[in-house]
């Protein structure tokens, strides 16, 4: 077929006389090359004395000069203190116990400081309540060094002095005395005895002070229900470790439900011990972290949850109520009741429905069960916001009855659903001041923006739970000209006392009752001796008519449209730390999406509405946009993520994103869900329409199922675990040796190294205790200077996290069924054909089982990465750590390719001192968080988990210096320290007495991808699910 085809360049060629055709034939380029612009000026060109040779000389000379200059080292200055503080030894870390109480997160923590700089948050193990720092608390240290922080007080956007602010405020407050206008304090929840006392004194001094507590994400229903029953505005406390049966109706108690902090108790009950573990049934709409951990998850829309709750109550009381729920839900309720009946005291029921009736019913159930896990006597004070008084305040403001409005720890212009009303009210307030660490939405509508301290710069106290006190102490002097709210109140009260003295006085008179202040400050927590707690018998229980509550619950019906459940994400919470790059880059444990929020839609609804998720050519995940309308409030351009497990007829959207004011460009991510939070109800009836365009997600995990590879996450059921030999449910893979099937662990390609001498570190990860909360991920980033790479780079799969928590959905209803399906593949095509079968296995089920698996470098004793490195940059240590010498690495990335666990990370760019990555490593302030014991990596090298070798080395050195033997528990990694669930245990397996050595002997122990013979030093424990039906 010799070519006599003619290829047409354009339509114009059809006409042979067209001038363009001729022009194109003559010219290679359609447009004239703009040679004239740089060579055209002949005169200029000839007059210059620089010819080509000169130019080359200059280039050569400057290159040579530059390289010669580079040979000379820079002069480095060392500037010692003039007077060195006694406790600061350069190079040695100090730890201080303090408490975070920012209105959303409450936790007793330890702060690690180096040379006076706080660099890491750790758990305070002395604390009995909320001693575990979640991902946000772990990340909060970076917010201290946020370069966008307010550096001093502002008036109308101009910096002013504190003195003049004080003078203005005092003048105004005094002028308001006797005018009948109220002075309103709109604050976060403090749970602070001293602050309450101080505000009371402030009220006394100025009169007509109205203190309104406002939680951005309200627990008003739970508070009101508790108040109605027990007469105190507080939240019941739960210890899930004591529960055998946990029933939750939409309560994400492993997330932020009622202030959070329940993870460690929950995990305690989840580890099978003596053949027993707790059974957890979750009825919920969104796929939450809690639902993902449940043994049985029943997807129900919020309205169905209410009916189901009513039915549970009725069934427990032997009656019945009306209302419609799906058949499977009814079965689940029956099953739950049967379980509860077995041991009433060991069951607990919780709900996250923002409905006073639902909350009241739950309190009644727990009370009547006599649940051991339920504690109403010593309730928690971590949420105190009152919707009623807030609405009253806004009404007062609009009516011009408010003379002064002083805000602290709140950002109503961002978080209030009726922000427009609030703004209108603000314009009628004579004086409004907002205390805030960052320039935010509220600052723009308020004349005075008072620069507030970060909590690591502040004094304070807390009472997280009745009888459990905590102290907040500064770990660094104020970085800027800032002041905490309480100090300002004292100044406005003309007190010459500092807030520190004030707290000390309050504690000495009211809290300590003979206890030692210094000891309390040292410990960070204080629990008065038991007999001093007011434990006067039974608490007054008001008789609340639960039956009417049950009745109204059972009559709940959906309002027609989709039911939207608003929730808070593990990474972002209520959004006050939206400028924190660690938290922005932290992938959501469930969706694995970072740098975004999105509306989660069930597969069925997505198909109906024409919403799609697809993978772009570069592998990134794309999703449709949608428009949400609630009561006339419209939110457009919300990306859609199809979420397995989402109850059909419901959708979910998270708070905390969509901040725009005072933020770096990169941090302006997601959409603001607060305008949809009408009436502070997290359940809204909504209409969803598809809008044009596709959203680009930065999703870290693109493959969601295990494809029937049960050896990656091994799991079994409690029944099999209890009755069968471990060889059956924790099968050791077999390989063929000399045509014989033998256990993979018995085959070795290499001679084994003698590891019996000295330390040999192992990390144990219990998949039963791990809830996937991700505190370890942020802790690892903080400890190891892991760079933040930004949304674009994450989308390109260039995330740098050394530790990731893989989340897998089952493709069938259970992982077990996946495995069976794969086993039964027969031939390529047909009913059981593997071609189509594997394709099916790629898609998750509508209500899948979920499993989490933290994966970091497995520190293989036979590491595939080490043998392929051409420059021996990665090698094995005798103590079991796979070491990485960054300065030796030339960046071939062979190791990353050869790693079966895909844990090696490549520095595609220079992430520090680079304004292209405008996060924290490019400015002096943000760099203060860097751990000086760990190298900051440069471009072009591979990095990965080092098993915190800087920490193990330090422990060894400390012991050597003291001349003592190392005790078990001294060796820790950042992740094992951050894990208060007890899922990660680190230690020396050569110490036969150690906990990790014991765990390694457990029947549940297995190694990841055991059959490839890498002999990792990280091991996992088989996940056991309590599928027993009563």
């Amino acid at each position: 077929m010799a070519s006599n085809k003619k290829y047409w360049k354009s339509e114009a060629e059809l006409n042979p006389n067209d001038s363009i055709v001729e022009a194109l034939r003559q010219n290679e380029f359609v447009e004239e090359i703009p040679v004239d612009e740089f060579l055209g000026d002949k005169e200029n060109l000839s007059s210059t004395s620089t010819n080509r040779r000169d130019f080359l000389k200059y280039v050569g000379f400057s290159t040579a000069a530059a390289s010669l200059a580079a040979c000379e080292g820079p002069v480095k200055k060392s500037i010692p203190y003039v007077v060195q503080p006694e406790r600061i030894i350069p190079g040695v870390a100090n730890y201080y116990a303090t408490t975070i109480a920012n209105g959303f997160d409450f936790a007793s923590i330890l702060v690690k400081t180096r040379e006076g700089r706080p660099i890491k948050i750790e758990n305070n193990t002395d604390a009995k309540v909320n001693g575990g720092a979640n991902a946000r608390v772990q990340g909060s240290v970076l917010s201290l060094y946020d370069s966008t922080r307010l550096q001093g007080p502002m008036k109308d956007g101009e910096p002013i002095e504190w003195d003049s602010l004080d003078a203005d405020v005092k003048a105004k407050l005094n002028a308001l005395k006797g005018t009948g206008k109220q002075i309103a304090l709109l604050t976060q929840t403090y749970a602070s005895p001293s602050t309450s006392k101080l505000i009371a004194e402030f009220s006394e001094m100025y009169g007509a002070v109205n203190h309104v507590v406002y939680d951005a994400i309200s627990e008003d229903a739970a508070l009101s229900a508790f108040e109605a029953r027990y007469g105190e505005r507080a939240l019941a406390d739960y210890d899930f470790g004591k529960a055998d049966v946990i029933v939750s109706f939409g309560a994400d108690f492993l997330g932020d439900w009622q202030g959070g902090g329940y993870g460690s108790g929950y995990s305690k009950g989840r580890v099978p011990k003596d053949g027993k573990m707790s059974k957890h049934v979750q009825f919920e709409a969104n796929m939450s972290l809690t639902g993902a951990n449940a043994d049985k998850r029943v997807p129900l829309t919020p309205m169905q949850q209410k009916v189901a709750l009513a039915k549970l109550y009725a069934k427990l009381n032997g009656s019945s109520v009306g209302g419609e729920i799906p058949e499977y839900a009814q079965q689940a309720i029956d099953g739950v009741v049967a379980e509860i009946e077995k041991n009433k005291g060991a069951a607990v029921v919780v709900t996250g429905l923002q409905d006073v009736n639902a909350q009241a019913v739950v309190l009644a159930i727990n009370e009547s069960l006599g649940s051991k896990a339920f504690d109403a006597k010593a309730p928690k004070y971590v949420r105190q916001g009152s919707v009623e008084s807030l609405d009253a305040l806004v009404a007062d403001m609009k009516a011009g009855r408010v003379g002064a409005l002083i805000m602290d720890g709140v950002n109503p212009m961002y978080t209030l659903p009726n922000a427009a009303d609030f703004a209108e009210g603000l314009s009628k307030v004579d004086l409004s001041v907002t205390f805030t660490a960052n320039w935010n939405e509220t600052c723009e509508s308020v004349p005075y923006a008072a620069a507030a301290n970060h909590y690591l710069e502040s004094w304070g106290d807390t009472q997280i739970k009745k009888g459990h006190y905590g102290l907040i102490q500064p770990t660094i002097k104020e970085l800027f000209d800032t002041r905490q709210f309480q100090s300002a109140l004292l100044a406005w009260m003309d007190s010459d006392k500092g807030y520190y003295d004030y707290i000390k006085e309050t504690w000495n008179t009211e809290v300590l009752s003979g206890g030692d202040w210094n000891q309390a400050l040292h410990d960070g927590v204080y629990v008065p001796v038991a007999d001093t707690i007011d434990d006067s018998g039974e608490t007054d229980v008001s008789v609340v008519d639960v039956s009417s509550a049950v009745n109204s619950l059972s009559k709940s019906v959906s309002g027609g449209g989709l039911e939207l459940t608003l929730y808070s994400k593990v990474g972002m919470g209520d959004g006050q730390q939206a400028g924190n790059p660690w938290l922005q880059e932290f992938p959501d444990p469930i969706s694995r999406v970072s740098w975004d929020n999105y509306v989660t839609v069930s597969k069925a609804d997505a198909a109906n509405l024409g919403l799609i998720n697809e993978h772009a050519a570069n592998g990134g995940l794309d999703g449709s946009y949608a428009k949400l309308t609630v009561n006339g409030v419209t939110l457009d351009g919300v990306p859609v993520l199809i979420q397995p497990g989402q109850a059909p007829g419901s959708i979910g959207l998270s708070f905390g994103y969509g901040r725009t004011v005072g933020m770096k460009e990169e941090m302006k991510t997601g959409v603001n869900a607060y305008p949809l939070y009408q009436g502070f109800n997290n359940v809204q009836s909504v209409t969803l329409e598809k809008s044009a365009g596709m959203h680009e997600f930065a999703c870290i995990q693109l493959h969601n199922t295990l494809m029937g590879r049960g050896d990656i996450i091994k799991e079994t059921t409690l029944e099999i675990f209890n009755t069968k030999d471990h060889a059956e449910w924790n099968e050791v893979p077999m390989v063929s040796l000399n045509h014989q099937e033998v256990e993979a662990t018995s085959v070795d390609l290499w001679d084994s190294f003698d590891r019996s001498i000295g330390h040999h570190f192992n990390l144990s990860i219990d998949l039963n205790a791990c809830t996937g909360c991700g505190a370890c991920v942020v802790a690892c980033s903080a400890e190891n200077n892991v760079p933040v790479v930004g949304k674009e780079e994450v989308r390109r799969s260039r995330d740098m996290h050394w530790l990731r928590i893989d989340r897998y959905y089952s493709s069938e209803d259970t992982f077990e069924a996946d495995n069976t399906k794969k086993e039964e593949f027969d031939g390529l095509s047909g009913e059981k054909g593997s071609l189509g079968g594997f394709g099916e296995l790629e898609g998750p089920a509508a209500n899948p089982q979920v499993a989490f698996q933290p994966v970091m470098c497995q520190h293989c004793n036979h590491a595939p990465c080490e043998t392929v490195c051409p420059v021996a940059a990665t090698s094995h240590g005798r103590q079991g750590q796979n070491q990485m010498a960054y300065n030796r690495c030339v960046g071939t990335r062979y190791c990353a390719n050869n790693c079966p666990y895909k844990v090696r990370r490549f520095n595609w760019f220079l992430y520090n001192n680079n304004d292209e990555f405008d996060f924290h490593m490019n400015n002096d302030l943000g760099k203060m968080v860097i751990n000086p014991d760990v190298t900051v990596r440069s471009r072009g090298v591979i990095e990965k988990c080092s098993m915190c070798i800087q920490k193990t080395q330090k422990t060894i050195l400390d012991a050597k210096r003291d001349g003592r033997v190392i005790k078990d528990g001294e060796f820790q990694t950042a992740c094992s320290m951050a894990c208060d669930n007890g899922a990660m245990v680190f230690g020396d397996v050569n110490d036969k007495e150690s906990k990790v050595a014991e765990l390694k002997q457990s029947d549940r122990m297995y190694h990841l991808l055991e059959h490839i013979g890498t002999k990792p030093n990280v091991f996992y424990h088989v996940k056991v699910r309590n599928n027993n039906e009563a």
Partner: protein
């Protein structure tokens, strides 16, 4: 450097003997025998107990003490008994309501004088004798002469030898020239033709060399090789700052502190014991001593010629102490801090790259290695410089050669026993203990 120490020793012997002689003569010729007390013993006691806070002619933490007894008795009417009481228990005297005691107490910032109950009355008598008539300071002129003599004697010897050698060599050369001339003359006289011999030599050497291609090739190859050798050597020293000796803001002499005064390194660099950093002492550590040491008079016989050539006079050093006072904000007049301080910006000499983790305490406290092993003879360094190359090869070498100090260290007990059995050695080197693993220093 050696020479300097030598000179110092000599001068010290000289100075000391001179002082002894003068003191001896002082006591011999007697001055205030009546008051009792031995000013020589008194001086020793004074330096030991009082000098931290008192000087003879200068107000320090406490008042100047020259002729304190006569001053007290004349101005205040206080006798020796009062002084005994004061020295042994000053706070008691103050509490007793003594007027002068309270006045002094108030005047000196209410700083209590350390009580010295261990000093006997005789001791106090000795001290008072010293304060009443301190042995005269050695006469500078005299010692200067003495020093000059000693300096000259050592200098002359070397110079003389060198000079003599030069003269001898000169004479030899002259003799050779003379011999050659004589021989030539004889040859001419004998009628030998020198010119013809010259012509017979043929090609000049370099031409012959240039024509031999093999030789040229070999030479070029050798030249290239040696060039490469030196280029490699030069490149390898890039970034190695051995001998780096920057000029500091304050001329701090380790020689005077660690050498002459034998101050322990870890007194100032205390964090070397516990931290990865040895730490540059904060200025308040300097002031522990320099509150009372306000001038340099270390060289009793005056600075040597060499020091003078470098400008290291006593006044120079005293000036450096004043720089310290300025930085720390110390008001000498009032013996108090002004609060206006300015930290000293030292130029860092030992710069390890960020990619390596080095911990001082590991080496100093655990291994018990002398500072000098890596930092060289610091006690002889007038100006501090980088002694070791601080290269990885240098580190590794030491780890290969140095035995781990396992004695009395519970931590090592088990691992040492097992490892030494495994390797069949008595003592383990750091390398055998795992000290060569990359990850031990690079993370």
């Amino acid at each position: 450097m050696k020479k300097v120490t030598y000179r110092n020793q000599i001068s010290r012997v000289f100075g000391f003997s001179l002082v002894v002689f003068l003191l001896f003569s002082g006591t011999v010729f007697g001055q205030d025998e009546a008051a009792g007390g031995d000013p020589v013993k008194g001086k020793a006691l004074f330096n030991q107990n009082c000098a931290a806070c008192h000087a003879l002619n200068r107000k320090m933490t406490g008042p100047a003490l020259a002729n304190v007894e006569s001053r007290l008795s004349e101005d205040e009417g206080l006798d020796r008994e009062w002084i005994y009481a004061w020295v042994k228990n000053s706070s008691g005297v103050i509490k007793s309501g003594d007027a002068y005691a309270n006045k002094v107490f108030g005047e000196y910032n209410q700083a209590l004088m350390t009580p010295f109950p261990t000093l006997s009355n005789t001791d106090i008598d000795d001290i008072l004798a010293y304060t009443a008539a301190p042995p005269p300071a050695p006469v500078v002129a005299e010692t200067a002469v003495a020093e000059e003599v000693s300096g000259a004697s050592s200098g002359i010897s070397n110079e003389l030898i060198l000079g003599a050698l030069v003269i001898i060599f000169g004479l030899l050369v002259m003799m050779l020239v003379l011999v050659q001339r004589t021989l030539k003359r004889i040859a001419v006289a004998n009628g030998l033709d020198l010119e013809r011999e010259k012509a017979e030599k043929g090609l000049p050497l370099w031409k012959a060399f240039a024509q031999n291609q093999f030789l040229v090739l070999v030479t070029v190859v050798l030249l290239l090789l040696s060039g490469a050798y030196f280029a490699y050597g030069w490149l390898m020293q890039v970034g190695i700052d051995q001998g780096y000796m920057p000029i500091q803001e304050i001329h701090y002499s380790h020689k005077i502190h660690a050498g002459d005064n034998k101050i322990d390194c870890k007194y100032c660099h205390s964090s070397a014991r516990t931290s990865k950093h040895s730490g540059i002492p904060s200025l308040n550590v300097c002031m522990n001593c320099h509150k009372s040491i306000y001038e340099y008079k270390g060289n009793a016989e005056g600075p040597s010629k060499e020091d003078l050539a470098n400008g290291y006079t006593n006044e120079f050093y005293t000036g450096e102490i004043k720089k310290l006072y300025k930085a720390v904000g110390w008001d000498e007049e009032n013996q108090s801090y002004t609060g206006e301080s300015k930290p000293v910006e030292w130029v860092r000499i030992h710069n390890l790259p960020d990619l390596v983790y080095f911990n001082h305490s590991q080496h100093v406290s655990v291994a018990g290695i002398e500072c000098q092993t890596c930092h060289g003879p610091v006690e002889e360094m007038e100006i501090m410089y980088q002694y070791a190359p601080l290269t990885m090869g240098w580190c590794i070498n030491c780890h290969r050669e140095t035995n781990v100090k396992v004695e009395d260290n519970e931590y090592y007990a088990k691992i040492h026993e097992e490892l030494s059995k495994k390797y069949g050695v008595e003592e383990l080197t750091a390398a055998q203990m795992g000290g060569l693993e990359c990850g031990k220093c690079h993370y």
